[in-house]
Symmetry: C2
Subunit: 194 residues, 2 copies
DNA sequence: CATCAAATTGACTGACCAGTCAGTTTACGT
DNA sequence: ACGTAAACTGACTGGTCAGTCAATTTGATG
């Protein structure tokens, strides 16, 4: 017998991530992925039933990694304000360090040819955020409105912030962009008079 | 002689918009577009040099229409706050009435296979927004930070708001989502103590 | 070492698709 | 009503690509 090689599968996933962000889903043939990953065409289809399966798997991984990274250290903070700031900083930090993964996720999220199930599964990783906001409302720190709306605004604002922060290479300027962006989000959420 | 028929070109553009949002760029063959538009394959390539040319043309149109719609009636408002509220309402209104065009633009914006030139040209339509924010800062209504950052946050927050507003059919709930969302954006931008 | 099942290979296939082009139709000027 | 140039047609082509499969290699196990 012989065990499946995690190396090969890993190489395929890594190569696919890079190529997808460089050339899009439709623009990267599986033949190119396997070639650049140093495996045969058949091997790719041994590890992934179809091209879509490969994309889905990649999405699940990246999304789960992102969620984990963003939640890091949130428990150490006491106030909702501090938690959110930490979350925002984590998110921006992750996005800056993994621009390829970020781009992949954006592309995936807006592509009409991917399964809804993967989308929904991806969202489940962010359940802890819902709690965070609810707790913040209960404590009077966050404006008492429909939490899913706040969550949604925050998420898209964060995505915009990361994209904008990525557009400069000046370290100082970038820091300013991030701080201003996090302020924007916090002022948008906080209860009046806090 | 014979003049080009605006009807045919229009039919192609409309059909392409619908199919692109339903199936993505890569998922819609030109043959299907021409078939559903009721013209021959060759006619599509008579009006548009390539498939990419068709997509670009569509983008330019939609973006320009969106910008015009969003700027509607802004001059009538006096304060930056009122202008922004009006802008936000216009944007959400447009997005709700033209979900296909919105989806198309999102897909386009995140697709790696479209020309950068079209992107940049598209942005030029929104130049008036820059002025709006600058004026607001001068008047002390808006927080005095890098305007492009504010602009960026506002744009992505608006996109998120529209997407969220589209997710419900309950008229009352939708109104609430929009008002809360616009509040989020305004609180994120306004100067403290205004 | 021999065995065997799983991993791996890459040439191949059937489907699909952007774009072409030689021919046909249309409507306008004269 | 005729000539003509542009609009329009759709069968066709050259190329590409997802996925297959028969053959081969690999390595764990007895």
């Amino acid at each position: 017998m012989r065990e499946p090689s995690p190396d090969k599968q890993e190489a395929i996933l890594e190569t696919a991530l890079r190529l997808f962000t460089e050339r899009g889903f439709a623009g990267t043939p599986t033949s190119l992925i396997s070639k650049e990953a140093g495996v045969a065409t058949g091997t790719l289809f041994f590890y992934f039933k179809t091209k879509e399966d490969l994309i889905d798997t990649l999405y699940r991984r990246v999304k789960s990694e992102a969620a984990q990274e963003m939640g890091r250290g949130l428990d150490a903070e006491k106030t909702a304000k501090a938690k959110l700031r930490r979350l925002g900083r984590n998110a921006v930090g992750w996005g800056l360090e993994n621009p390829a993964k970020l781009k992949f996720m954006e592309q995936f999220a807006h592509s009409p040819f991917v399964s809804t199930s993967a989308h929904e599964e991806g969202m489940s990783h962010f359940a802890f955020l819902e709690d965070l906001v609810l707790q913040g409302i209960r404590d009077g720190e966050i404006r008492d409105v429909e939490p899913s709306g706040l969550f949604c605004m925050m998420a898209s604002a964060l995505a915009g912030l990361i994209a904008h922060a990525l557009s400069t290479n000046d370290e100082e300027e970038r820091r300013t962009i991030i701080e201003n962006g996090l302020d924007f989000i916090w002022f948008g959420m906080k209860a009046e008079g806090v």
